[in-house]
């Protein structure tokens, strides 16, 4: 069946080439036998650009592609833990603009914050056990070392920050997703204001508090969204650290929440263990916290308000670690442990 289909396609292609004309009435570079493969559901469906951002790895190498953001100039910024170029900056077409950064061996979390008209980056470094704030071209402006003053930590090694979120007043929230699972709340100058989360049995605790973001979709009442990756849960907290809601995403080992428009986008590392099972996809939630599309994964189905367990359905991704949504609503998927491949772009249809 499969084989016959391919034979048909090939013959069609040959015919088109031989005639040298657009016999199928479609654009010149496409033949009717070939169709773009589309992933996702409902309002959020995408074509797949596997070649986006591919560079010569001898000169612009990546290791894990951990996170990506778009800056106010529209550029796409990738953070990787290859210290030959920790930060790779592209235009939206995938053309290289510049690279910088050789001091971030554990480059993991990347957050962009616009402060008084200027873009700043917050890098959470697993190996350095600290968060570093830089200008958009890489000058360090603030270090947030391990939170000794919290009284929760005995040494730097216990603190392995994975992500940051910046509030409109400049307050900084850091998720210690690979360390002791606390969420640390600082003011803009780096003074520790509050600590919450940590390990424990209740829902207000975390197992792998991997990602965090500010949810300002209701501007008068901003909240925090924090992933508990190992628990397959997205948790909503007040800015002062009170648990408000738990969103279950069974089977989805979600990395970090990213808000664009009215939706939350979540790169999902895997849908079953072990962590290198290559079974990841992307989740998209609407404003009511309902899963509406799963590019690369199973259709979201709710029964009696409970979501069916999610799984990868087609092997487009291995281990998605972050999603960046650009101003055209297209997605860039950065992947961990995927054979040092560059990000995959999803173009919305």
């Amino acid at each position: 069946m499969k084989r016959r289909q391919f034979i048909g396609s090939t013959l069609g292609a040959l015919a088109g080439t031989t005639l040298g004309v657009d016999v199928f009435g479609i654009s010149k570079n496409r033949l009717s036998a070939y169709k773009d493969f589309i992933i996702g559901h409902g309002t959020h469906q995408y074509k797949i650009d596997l070649n986006w951002g591919a560079l010569n790895p001898d000169f612009y190498p990546v290791n894990d592609c951990h996170e990506m953001v778009q800056d106010s100039q529209g550029r796409i910024i990738l953070l990787t833990n290859d210290t030959r170029n920790n930060v790779i900056i592209y235009d939206k077409s995938g053309k290289l603009i510049e690279v910088w950064g050789t001091d971030y061996p554990g480059a993991h979390g990347l957050t962009l914050s616009r402060e008084n008209g200027e873009d700043f980056l917050y890098i959470a470094d697993n190996n350095r056990h600290e968060v570093i704030k830089t200008t958009i071209d890489g000058k360090v402006v603030l270090n947030l070392p391990w939170p000794q003053e919290s009284g929760k930590y005995e040494k730097a090694e216990q603190y392995i920050p994975t992500e940051t979120a910046i509030a409109s007043n400049g307050d900084i929230y850091i998720a210690d997703g690979y360390g002791l699972q606390y969420i640390l709340h600082y003011n803009a100058k780096g003074k520790l204001l509050n600590v919450f989360g940590g390990r424990g049995p209740g829902e207000e605790h975390f197992d792998n508090a991997h990602g965090i973001c500010l949810d300002t979709r209701t501007p008068e009442a901003p909240t925090l969204l924090i992933t508990a990756r190992q628990q397959n849960k997205l948790k909503r907290f007040s800015l002062d650290g009170r648990l408000l809601k738990v969103i279950d995403l069974p089977g989805a080992y979600i990395c970090r929440p990213v808000i664009h428009g009215q939706e939350v986008y979540l790169a999902t590392l895997v849908s079953r263990l072990p962590f290198d099972s290559g079974s990841g996809f992307v989740c998209i939630l609407n404003q009511e916290d309902q899963l509406i599309s799963v590019p690369g994964g199973s259709q979201p189905i709710y029964r009696d308000g409970k979501l069916n367990r999610l799984q990868q359905t087609v092997k487009v991704f291995q281990h998605p670690h972050d999603v960046c949504v650009d101003d055209d609503e297209n997605l860039y998927v950065a992947q961990w442990n995927s054979g040092k491949t560059y990000p995959i772009k999803l173009v919305r249809v």
Partner: protein, 273 residues
């Protein structure tokens, strides 16, 4: 033949990517990607009357085909529409098909019908399992609970270098005609398959007579990770005393990165027939 088809599919994809004109197509095309493995859901691979297996795959236009006779599933095999009910020991093989994707890998699971073990007056483990993988002692082997692939789930007994050797005294004389040892092989975890399986009986509980043994050579070369069942059958034996020796691979062979060190042996269940 199989490799020819594979070559042809690979070649077709290459052609589609090149669009025969040397220009790269911008977006990934239908036929580029493989379906993920279907996921089987069931209570246990060991069952007493029947096992119910569900297969999840929420992807429009996907069809799932399966076999219970050991053959590779094709689109002429049984089609999955509702949960599968297995009443006899069998191996389920499932594969997903979709018009726009390459077929999934074949996912396989062996289901085994079991009878409750005879009541035992005593069970003695001749060498203790490693303290990290000690389960609930010897009774772990007769609780009809299969361990998961996570070998730290407390349902496994793990032996480093040592054999699994048990001596059991049954409450009353019982007829036994065969046994299956359920275990795990995991090359990257240095867990090797059983090297040899032997069954003994005794009249007095002191002097044991070998009834049957069988060698397994899988551990001599590279092997796939996963659960294993090792089985021996023999003429029905009426006995109160039994001894079972599942022989460890011993020293890890030369081809393995752990060459020269003691191999692990992992067993979660012994099924008597």
């Amino acid at each position: 033949m199989h490799s020819l088809i594979r070559f042809f599919i690979g070649w077709s994809i290459y052609l589609s990517a090149m669009n025969l004109s040397g220009q790269n197509l911008h977006y990934a095309q239908q036929g580029t990607f493989q379906l993920a493995d279907p996921i089987l859901t069931f209570d246990s691979v060991l069952f007493q009357s029947s096992a119910t297996i569900r297969i999840g795959f929420e992807f429009e236009e996907t069809s799932l085909y399966y076999t219970l006779d050991g053959k590779e599933p094709t689109t002429t095999s049984l089609r999955y529409n509702q949960p599968i009910n297995v009443k006899e020991s069998s191996t389920l093989k499932v594969r997903a098909f979709h018009p726009d994707c390459q077929n999934s890998n074949v996912v396989s699971e062996q289901f085994i019908k079991v009878v409750p073990p005879p009541k035992m007056q005593s069970i003695i483990l001749q060498s203790a399992p490693n303290s990290k993988y000690a389960g609930n002692g010897a009774s772990t082997l007769f609780d009809l609970e299969k361990g998961s692939l996570n070998f730290q789930d407390g349902k496994w007994l793990g032996f480093q270098g040592d054999n699994l050797e048990i001596v059991a005294k049954l409450e009353k004389t019982t007829t036994i005609k065969g046994l299956t040892v359920s275990g795990l092989a995991n090359q990257s975890g240095w867990i090797f398959p059983i090297h040899n399986l032997a069954f003994y009986t005794s009249v007095d509980g002191e002097n044991f007579e070998l009834i049957e043994q069988k060698a397994f050579s899988e551990g001599d070369q590279s092997f796939e990770a996963g659960p294993r069942f090792w089985q021996i059958d023999f003429a029905p034996q009426q006995t109160r005393f039994i001894k079972i020796i599942a022989e460890n691979q011993g020293v890890i062979p030369d081809w393995h990165q752990g060459a020269g060190t003691p191999a692990w042996l992992f067993v979660d269940e012994i099924l008597l027939r």
